[in-house]
Amino acid sequence: MARKLLLEHINVPGINTFDVYRSKGGYAAVEKALKTLSPDDVVEEVKKSGLRGRGGAGFPTGMKWSFLAKPEGVERYLVCNADESEPGTFKDRYLMTYIPHLLIEGMIVASYALGAKTSYIYVRGEMMPQIRILEKAIAEAKNKGFLGKNILGTGYDLELYVQPGGGAYICGEETALLESLEGKRGNPRIKPPFPAIAGLYGCPTVVNNVESIAAVVPIINEGGDEYAKLGIGRSTGTKLISAGGNLRKPGVYEIDLGLPVEEFLYSDEYCGGIANGKRLKAVVAGGSSVPILPANLFLKTINNEPRLMSYESLADGGFVSGTMMGSGGFIAYDEDQCIVRNTWNFARFYHHESCGQCSPCREGTGWMEKVLHRLEYGHGKMSDMDLLVDVAKKIEGNTICPLGDAAAWPVASAIRHFRDEFEWHVTHPNEATTRNFGIAHYADPLPKLEEAAS
C-alpha cells in the first residue's frame, strides 16, 4: 500500500481535535519551520518538493511563492481557496471535515514563509458545517499558542480567519475570490496585475488551494527532496482524488502520482471497479472542466501505453486523445449513461455560473445549453454538432477568465469522441429520451496506431 502523507491519520478517532492531532505528530511542521528555518528556507523546501498547485492549474507552488512582491511597509496576504465547486471535486471538503488541523497547520507554515500577518481561508458559503469546524480548530490552535501573538515565543504573529462565500462557482477563480473577499460581486479581474503584485486590498497576495497548503506540512516535516521522491517525473508527491460516478467504492483517495489508471479504477484498494457489474463507458478525469474521454482512450494512450494518474500521462495526446489532471475530480460513467445528457447538464452548469462580464462566455454558454437541450430531447439537427464546436471555439481563449475555456472543453471533447451518440439523438428523436445509446465501441480495445492512422 502506498504511503499516505495527508490522510494517514484520517480514521483516528478524535483527529479533528487539537490534542489527538498533536499526539499524532501534528504541528511539528510549525515548530520546525518557525524555530529552525527562515521564511526563505521554507520557500526553498517547497520549491524542491516540486509541489504543483492542487486547485486545477497545476502551477508550481514554490515558484508562485517566490513571485510574491515584498515592498517595504506593505501588508502581504495568504488566502486559501476553499471554494471547492468544480463538479466532481470533493476532496477539500473531506479534508476540512475530518482533519481540519492539517489545513490550519499548513496555513501557519505557509503564512510564515510569505511573511503574512493576517491570512484568510475563503470557504464556499454552503460549507457552513466546515466553517464551524475550522473556526473551532483555529480557536484551539490559538489557545495552545500556535496562532496569535508571538507564536511559540518566536516573535512571529499571525491571525487566521475563515470567510464564507455566497454561493458562486466563479469565486473559485482566484481574482473573483479576492473580489468576493472584499465584499463585492465575484467578477474576475483582468490580469495583469497578478495577485502576487496586487491582490487582496491591492496588496501582494498568494492564493492557494486547500490541498496545496496541506501538502506543505509533510514537505516541511520530511524535506522537499523526500517529497519529490514520491510520484513520477514532474508529477511529484501524492494527490487526493475525488472518485465519484458509477463506482463500486466512490470516495476520496490519496494516491502516489503515477499510479496506473487501471489500478486506480479497478483495484479494491481504490475504486473497486464499476458499480453493479456494469462496464465503463467514459471518464472525466479532473473535474467537469477537463475533456471527457471514452473508456478505451482513458485506459490507454493513443500509443497503446497504459495511462497513469499523473499530470503528464493524463495530458498525453493533447486535446485530440488526452485530457488533464485538473483538480482530481474523477467521474466514471457506466454503459447506461447518456453522454448528450451529461454534456447538456454541464453546459447548463457553466451558463448558470458565468459571471456575465464577457459576451463570448455569457452568450456562448447559453447557446450551447440551448442546442444541447434540443439534442437531448430529440429536436436536434445534424448541423448542431458543428454549430456547438463552432461556438465552443469562439469562446475558447476569448474571455477574461478560464471559465469560458472550462465551459467549451467538455462540449468540444464530447462531440469529438462521442459524435455518433449525438447523431443518434438526431436520427432517433423518439428514442432520445426513452432509451440510451449504450456503450457502442467506446470500451473496445484501441486500434493499432497504423490502423488508426489509415
Partner: protein
Amino acid sequence: MLSVQDTNTPVTFSPELISKFADVVSRYPVGKQKSALLPILHLVQAEFGWTSVPAMDKVAEYLSIQPIEVYEVASFYTMYFLKPQGKYMLEVCRTGPCEIVGASKIMDHIENTLGVKEGDVTPDGLFSWRGVECLAACGFGPVLQIGPEYTFYENLTTESVDKLIGDLKGKANN
C-alpha cells in the same frame, strides 16, 4: 429573472446580532469593513429567513456603504433569498455527478411529495425546494442541504427523503 419581493416590514437588528456583526468586521483592516458584507448577509438570512430590502438597507447603513452595493451582492450570489422561503428549504444538487446517480429522481419525488414546484412554498409555510449546483460531495450523491445551518444529507433515496420530510414536519409541530 431576479426580483426582490416588496415589503415595508421594518427590521430591527438585536444587540446580539449587532455584536456578531462587529465580530465579523474586526477580522479586516480598518476601512475594509465592506469585506464583512457576505458574512453579515448570512447572519441576516439566518435570523430573518431571507434578505429583504429594509434589512439590506440597514446592513448598508451599518457598514457605511451604499444600499446598491448590498443589493448587487445579494443578487449576484445564489445563497441569499430575495423573497421569503419555506421554513425548511431543501436544496438538492442537480449537477452531472449527482445526476448520473439519480438526482432528478429525488427532485421529482420531492416535488410530488410536497406538491409545490421548484421555488414555491408549501401552503403551511414549512417547505420549499430547489435544485442547486455541485455541493462538493459528488461521491456521496444524491445529496441535499438545508439552511441556515446547511445540514447535509447524503446518499439519498426516495425512502430517506420521505423520512426526512416526516421528521421535519414532526419537529415543526412540536
